[in-house]
């Protein structure tokens, strides 16, 4: 892995140039093509941008992220690069504009190396639903990298870039971060603009960074954060609160019943992290996160309902790939352009919103959402942050859960509640299991406590 905050010193003192680093990354992408992390590499573009960054370093005009080599999940618009969302239906689509988050990073000096593979329209937890082939875990190529932002996690884990952007609707940044051994951060809802992020479930979608270290993730996040006139749901960057010392910090931890389903190695890592924090002076407070049986169902009802509407625009009429038909272009395009998992979720979402079922599913899920948010508000009156596993298992074998969508969906158990409540959550790597696969733990905090969450996670 290559850290931008470390490289920046080298760029500043001239011991390394951005162009050299870019060439190394391009070579690494080519050498590790079997990982299938990228859907598009913009070699010419990134070389030109790197040369310009080197010029700025020489001129003493380097911006905060000057020469930060960035990979962008292929569901975010970057003008000049194709965007497929890993779907056939957007084959050949060229966006007309650049996503706000990406634009801010470019304006701060980041250079975009390419677009990363993902689960189709971010629907999946293993990167197996991509129309352009599965992404492989660099720690064990027979295993999945997690999803849906698998390509972005792998790009950082395999040292193919400094940092990458992912999107997290139910855990799609944190889960692959855990599986690949990198930092993955999902900020408070609205703190990073969604403008330019292809919507899966608008009220649950978040843009966030992958990076080798907490400091790198923080650097990228700081630049992206802040209100955006193009996103009405965006909010100003929360004012930096003085970070309470770990000594005296109240850390909520899950009671045993919540983690008995986890792999033993993950339970052990969790216990070790708790012990570490305790020794640093933190007060460990067992907490109950209620309604846990409702997290995943609530998430899937809300996410699929919104997705069924958000994905209606892909009809082959105005852009993307059109599958011609004598009868109905829209039906033909959507039947052949969308993969199985996407069609499954669109149908489920259509069903939960349809008249006669709306109240039983969608309306109840909205009520459950409020209960879950209230639950978190209540817990955060007792503790400053919560420590919990990111995933119940480490990276699983490719194909292991493909035949059982519900088992796949349940792998989001520890991550979805933060999306439902819109709270900040970060996954931090804490070593490996006995098979040598990375383990990630998660720190969650109250809304707008993004800085505190990152600071605590840095100590785990």
């Amino acid at each position: 892995m290559i850290s931008f905050t470390e490289d920046r010193q080298r760029f500043l003192d001239g011991s390394l140039s951005v162009s050299q680093r870019v060439e190394q990354c391009l070579a690494a992408i080519a050498n590790q093509a079997q990982l299938n992390a990228f859907l598009h590499v913009d070699a010419d573009g990134v070389r030109a941008a790197a040369a310009a960054s080197d010029e700025r370093y020489r001129a003493g005009l380097a911006r905060p992220l000057e020469g930060c080599i960035l990979a962008v999940k292929d569901n975010m618009s970057v003008k000049g690069m194709p965007m497929t969302c890993a779907s056939r239906i957007l084959e050949g689509f060229m966006p007309l504009y650049t996503a706000t988050a990406v634009e801010r990073l470019i304006d701060a000096g980041a250079v975009v190396i390419g677009k990363t593979n993902m689960d189709e329209f971010a629907m999946g937890s293993s990167n197996e639903t991509s129309a352009y082939g599965v992404v492989r875990n660099p720690h064990d190529p027979s295993r999945v990298p997690g999803g849906s932002s698998g390509g972005s996690a792998v790009a950082v884990a395999a040292g193919l870039c400094h940092a990458s952007l992912g999107s997290d609707t139910g855990g799609s940044i944190r889960q692959p971060a855990a599986f690949c051994g990198v930092v993955g951060f999902k900020p408070t809802y609205g703190v990073v603009s969604r403008y330019g992020l292809t919507a899966f479930a608008s009220s649950l979608d978040h843009v966030g960074p992958f990076a080798p270290t907490m400091a790198d993730a923080q650097a990228v996040f700081d630049v992206m954060a802040g209100a955006d006139a193009m996103d009405s749901t965006s909010v100003p960057t929360p004012e930096a609160q003085p970070m309470p010392p770990i000594d005296g910090l109240k850390v909520g931890v899950l009671e045993e019943s919540y983690i008995t389903g986890c792999d033993q190695d993950i339970q052990d890592a969790y216990a070790a992290a708790i012990e570490k924090l305790r020794q640093m002076g933190a007060t460990i407070v067992p907490v109950q996160l209620q309604h846990e049986q409702a997290w995943v169902p609530t998430y899937f009802i809300l996410a699929t309902a919104e997705a069924s509407s958000n994905l209606a625009r892909f009809d082959g009429v105005r852009y993307g790939k059109r599958f011609e038909s004598d009868v109905d272009i829209v039906t033909e395009t959507r039947s052949r352009g969308f993969g199985t998992e996407v069609q499954r979720r669109i149908m489920l979402g259509t069903y939960v919103l349809s008249s006669g079922y709306h109240d039983a599913y969608y309306t109840r899920a909205q009520k459950a959402r409020r209960l879950i948010a209230d639950m978190y508000n209540n817990v955060f009156t007792q503790v400053d942050v919560i420590l919990l596993p990111t995933t119940p298992t480490s990276a699983f074998e490719i194909g292991a859960k493909q035949s059982d969508p519900v088992a796949m969906w349940l792998s989001d158990y520890y991550t979805v509640s933060a999306n439902i409540a819109g709270i900040p959550a970060v996954s931090v790597p804490v070593g490996t299991d006995t098979a040598g696969l990375p383990i990630g733990l998660q720190v969650q905090g109250p809304v707008f406590a993004d800085a505190m969450v990152l600071a605590v996670a840095a100590q785990v």
Binding site: S77, Y195, A199, S203, T233, S309
Partner: protein, 485 residues
């Protein structure tokens, strides 16, 4: 015994607002541009784009709500109405569903039987779709210039009982929209669209019958005709022992009939849910108050004021206030009159309702482009009122005035139309005529009093037509009454 039926009618009126930009993006709303020019990634529904609410839309709908006596909801929200259509870029329309911004209002219409209140159930914001063009031999063509243009939907209570009332209600709603300067109010061009919900029931029954919805009422004449047709169709069905089916009907203007567009089973399930890309719309009390105090005087109030302030007949007041611009022009004309008074006010009204409106109709122009100014018309009324010219000559002055900036006095001078009102001069002419017609004078004094007209005519003739007839008549009478001369 013959059953008599009454119709229960509610109207849904869609008004396209004339904001300069679209409801949720910065694209222009200019009508008549080349197809697919006024578009951007947002209104094309490109992936990743998000709507940003046009503040003018909120301000304008609140004005409409206040003008129709609605409650204004302090916090309202948007919903998505989901359906597939090639001219609907996102696959859903952003609309308001559960909590419309305006609700519970009413308007008063003036029917032939007197004033009547029609309730307003709700007024909500939404975005227009694009336009599909099917009637070409090639594929369907789609123009997305209109996609995202702001609409408000005004839903009435089922308080309307006749096609005539529906017509009057629609006229009234149109007038308010135009008075507020928020909509062109053009049914034919589609800036105003109307659907009607219609059911019938025997008079005396309190429950409602099954309703049908009639769409495509794209002119005021069609609104009245289509509703009449649909009421008659429903009565004939029921009289024939059949039941009215809950269907959506389309008015076919060329065949002058309604026909079934889709049945209840084919009705869309729009799967409404809260629009997650927009936050609540908040209209606080101070904003509402500011908009309320800035409301212009509306048509009905203006009409009533014209009757009381200018002494106009109700008919004149209605004609003059139908269009706010005409009403303002009328008031400006009256303000420029030298001689203020009901007689002059009525004269101004007469000129506008006949000659000025004739020009507006012929040239299809607004009153500001009719070819004369309120000052000019006032000057014309003044010279007739003070006897400078006859009302016959006034027509010539009016014609000469058009397209110029000349006042009536200037034109009277130029055209030599000044009426001779010099008493000494006229008295001389009277004496001349009497002297030259001793026979007729004899006959007059012998009792043939109808010879007065002859004498007056002779005087006017000798004056070359310029003598003031009223003044001549009074001098002549006086002269004739004198015993000797």
């Amino acid at each position: 015994m013959q059953t008599t039926y009454e119709a229960i009618i509610g109207l849904e009126v869609h008004a396209q607002l004339k904001t300069s930009s679209k409801a949720f993006c910065a694209c222009s709303t200019t009508y008549g541009a080349m197809p697919n020019v006024n578009v951007c990634p947002v209104c094309l529904g490109h992936p990743g784009t998000l709507p940003v609410l046009n503040r003018n839309l909120v301000e304008w709908i609140v004005k409409m709500g206040l003008a129709t006596n609605c409650h204004i909801r302090e916090r309202s929200s948007f919903s998505r109405k989901n359906y597939f259509y090639s001219d609907l870029p996102k696959g859903y329309q952003i609309s308001q569903f559960a909590d419309p911004i305006c609700y519970g209002g009413s308007v008063e219409i003036e029917t032939e039987e007197g004033p009547k209140h029609i309730g307003i159930t709700r007024i909500h914001m939404e975005e227009d779709s694009g336009k599909s063009i099917h009637d070409l031999d090639i594929d369907t063509l789609v123009d997305l210039n209109r996609a995202g243009v702001p609409l408000i939907e005004i839903v009435s209570e089922p308080d309307i009982r006749t096609a005539r009332e529906a017509y009057l209600y629609l006229q009234h709603i149109r007038q308010i929209l135009v008075y507020l300067d928020i909509c062109d109010g053009n049914l034919e061009e589609g800036s105003l669209r109307c659907d009607a919900n219609i059911s019938i029931r025997p008079v005396g029954q309190t429950t409602f019958g099954t309703k049908t919805e009639v769409k495509n009422l794209n002119s005021f004449r069609n609104v009245e005709k289509a509703i009449q047709f649909e009421i008659a169709r429903q009565i004939a069905l029921v009289e024939g022992g059949a039941a009215v089916q809950q269907v959506t009907m389309l008015w076919d203007a060329s065949r002058q009939e309604t026909r079934v567009m889709r049945s209840k089973e084919q009705a869309h399930d729009y799967r409404y849910f809260a629009e997650p890309d927009l936050v609540h719309v908040v209209v606080d009390e101070s904003w509402k108050q500011r908009l309320h105090s800035a409301l212009p005087e509306l048509g009905l109030a203006k009409r009533r004021r014209f009757v009381s302030q200018f002494g106009l007949p109700a008919y004149d007041a209605a004609v003059l206030t139908d269009d706010a611009e005409v009403a303002a022009w009328y008031e400006a004309s009256c303000a420029h009159l030298n001689a203020q008074g009901p007689e002059a006010y009525k004269a101004v009204s007469n000129w506008i309702m006949t000659d000025v409106m004739r020009i507006m109709g012929q040239n299809k122009v607004s009153i500001s482009n009719a070819g004369l100014s309120p000052e000019q018309l006032a000057s014309l009324v003044d010279v007739v009122q003070d006897g400078t010219i006859s009302s016959k000559s006034a027509k010539d002055v009016f014609a000469a005035m058009l397209g110029t900036t000349k006042t009536a006095s200037e034109l009277v001078q130029e055209l030599g139309l000044r009426q001779e009102s010099d008493e000494g001069l006229l008295r001389q002419l009277v004496e001349d005529v009497l002297r030259d017609n001793p026979d007729n004078l004899e006959k007059y004094r012998g009792g043939k009093s109808n010879l007065l007209g002859f004498f007056v005519g002779q005087v006017i003739k000798r004056s070359g037509g310029s003598a003031n007839p009223a003044l001549v008549t009074s001098i002549m009478k006086e002269a004739l009454e004198q015993p000797t001369m």
